[in-house]
Amino acid sequence: MQAEQIPPGGATRNTLETSHLAPAVDTFFYDNKIVRDFGIATVFWGIAGMLVGLLAAIELAQPDANLHTSFTTFGRIRPLHTNAVIFAFVGNGIFMGVYYSLQRLCKTPMYSKALSRLHFWGWQTVILSALISLPLGFTTSKEYAELEWPIDILITVIWVVFGWNMFGTIARRRERHLYVGIWFYIATLLTVAVLHLVNSAEVPVSWLKSYSAYAGVQDALVQWWYGHNAVAFFLTTPYLGLMYYFLPKAAGRPVYSYRLSIIHFWSLIFIYIWAGPHHLLYTALPDWAQSLGVAFSVMLIAPSWGGMINGLLTLRGAWDKVRVEPVLKFMVVAITAYGMATFEGPMLSLKNVNAIAHFTDWIVAHVHVGALGWNGFLTFAMLYWLWPRLYRTELYSKKLANTHFWLGTIGILFYALPLYWAGFTQGLMWKQFNAEGMLQYPNFLETVLQIVPMYYMRALGGALYLGGVFLMMYNLIKTAQAGTLLAEERATASALLPAAEDPHADAGHWHRWLERRPFQLAFWATVAIAIGGAVEMVPTFLVKSNVPTIASVKPYTPLELQGRDLYIREGCSNCHTQMVRPFRSETERYGEYSKAGEFVYDRPFLWGSKRTGPDLHRLGGKYPHSWHYNHMLDPTTMSPGSIMPPYPWLFDSKLDNSTLSQKIAVLRKLGTPYPRGYEQQALADAQRQADGIVRDLQKEDIEVKSDKEIVALIAYLQRLGTDIKVKPEQVAGAAQ
């Protein structure tokens, strides 16, 4: 005799009346539709993001490929590519895998279908906003956090929706212990929230323009604490959680060592958060913080390789399956790529290696081994595994999947190897001195032209990889057509007895206690990341009051400020750094090395992370205005063979001064010492400075109207790095 009750979640419950202690058996339905929807979004945005990446890659070898529009020029589409592949492709891939595995590991449907849908459409709206705003030039310029403040707020809201749905599901679970994969999901959710909130602190000027709440060195530290941990907690921890679920499923055997997975989890989340400063070696960052970053980066090898070994050994005794099953092939290469990238990362953070590799294509190769190999291949494995199950049929073609596997693998090699070569070559050329003690290659362009063939090869590699993804799309569409989507999947599980009545819910050890309590686990995981975060951040926040103000460093004039915002809009920092490191090879090439005190008015900082073109920090005063004018109109006239695209629109567009006074007001609020009421005078000052530049250009037979954008940009470029060259008497005079 059975009695029906309605437990939370709308499931049907059957209990045996005769047995008081026997657990009730619930019947409920997993939501497969949301998994399918996130899967479609993963493929769609993956192709879109990779196409943009391919275009960007071709532009590096063939600048004309930018279609001669501002919207498709490298500086604007590079952030579009990174945002699309990280947040759209991998992001949707995370949600696809989490929504599938979480329901099953918790033996309950998602907490709320409405929240699931809201999460899905909200996230697609964020992506669409990025797709529109980034090519239009609305950007904060902070890498992987380029989206402007209204989109940042939307991301926060949607992330809360995801978290609410996730914790709601966990709270209603029918499995007392949380599987290790779920711990990784929880750590991801919380850490990404913390990173996003701290790094996105900004003060709006208008609807699509804001200034960072941090300046200079402080901004750089916060940004790379974020940037590094975005890799850690968006591209790594969620995918490790997914690996711990989907690898055992696909291999048909449990993970090699659950012990190792526990250590993997805690050590990874604890150590990762400390390693951010390795992105700022040899910069104005304090030495001890750099050393701390290096030490923790080296320590990261242990948990990362622990995870990799755990993954690969899960396949022990199943290697025969790897030979015939594309899902497992993709997983093996993914885990291997994870191992390679996480070995290389610590190596790159050693200061002597970093001195050569940093700012070169070596770093681009490194991240793509992770992105194409680890994230890409694990996503493809999940899609190939999920699609037949969601559509209750078999995969349309294993042969096509195998072809995809080989195209992808060869694509990765063709992508990464030429860039390693290019990075190493260029890094060494920058540092090469001749017998007379002079730079062997004083013209930066020489070092660029040397590696252009490698740019063609990498574009070919990207095209091969993308070709594979198209094959996958076709394969998945055909699979879906052959089957029918099982939108609601029936499942049964015993209801969870109250802890007091459950003989298995022993008090046990403190860690087993934690494994049963998601909220406490979440709390302690947050503490683990907060310790590393705090140790880095506390000195960061002390920096501002401790960087000695260099007396000659003054705020930007209104016109320079406008020019700087154009520099940000055009994404110049994607190819040019503003950080001369204290090496003789750099001071010889660029001039005096960069000092922390020079950046105190830089909101945001524009140090950059890649030198496709030369460093610009000491550019001011190096060339006449006319050089910049001609160079921006057609770079090849000043630097024959240059791969920099022309910027003709700067010569046609009128400078938008409508928000200038608001910009001055916001910057003063943030601490820039513009005098009170200066916003009323700013426009006139900008005009005066523009007229001066126009007069100088006239002397060299160049006619330009003072209200064009190029004039503001020239003003900014001519100011770069010049403050410390101002003589003390001039400063004293100006102060009086």
Partner: protein
């Protein structure tokens, strides 16, 4: 120059020292737990993803691995 500035913050060295201590003790505890952990419990946990989560009524025979 900059490094001297930060080195001058009073007691800055205590941050890494404290965090190292927390880190070290936590991992010591974790290692002890992991070594002493109940084998059956660990085995049961690692089986979680493999438990049949598909209802037989809706399940079709897969040629693909499961």
């Amino acid at each position: 120059m900059e490094k001297n500035v930060l080195q001058s913050i009073a007691g800055i060295g205590i941050y890494p020292a404290i965090s190292f201590l927390i880190f070290f003790l936590f991992f010591l505890g974790l290692l002890v737990y992991v070594v002493r952990a109940n084998r059956q419990h660990l085995a049961a946990m690692s089986e979680l993803p493999l438990l049949a989560d598909e209802d037989p009524q809706t399940q079709l025979t897969h040629n693909v691995l499961c």
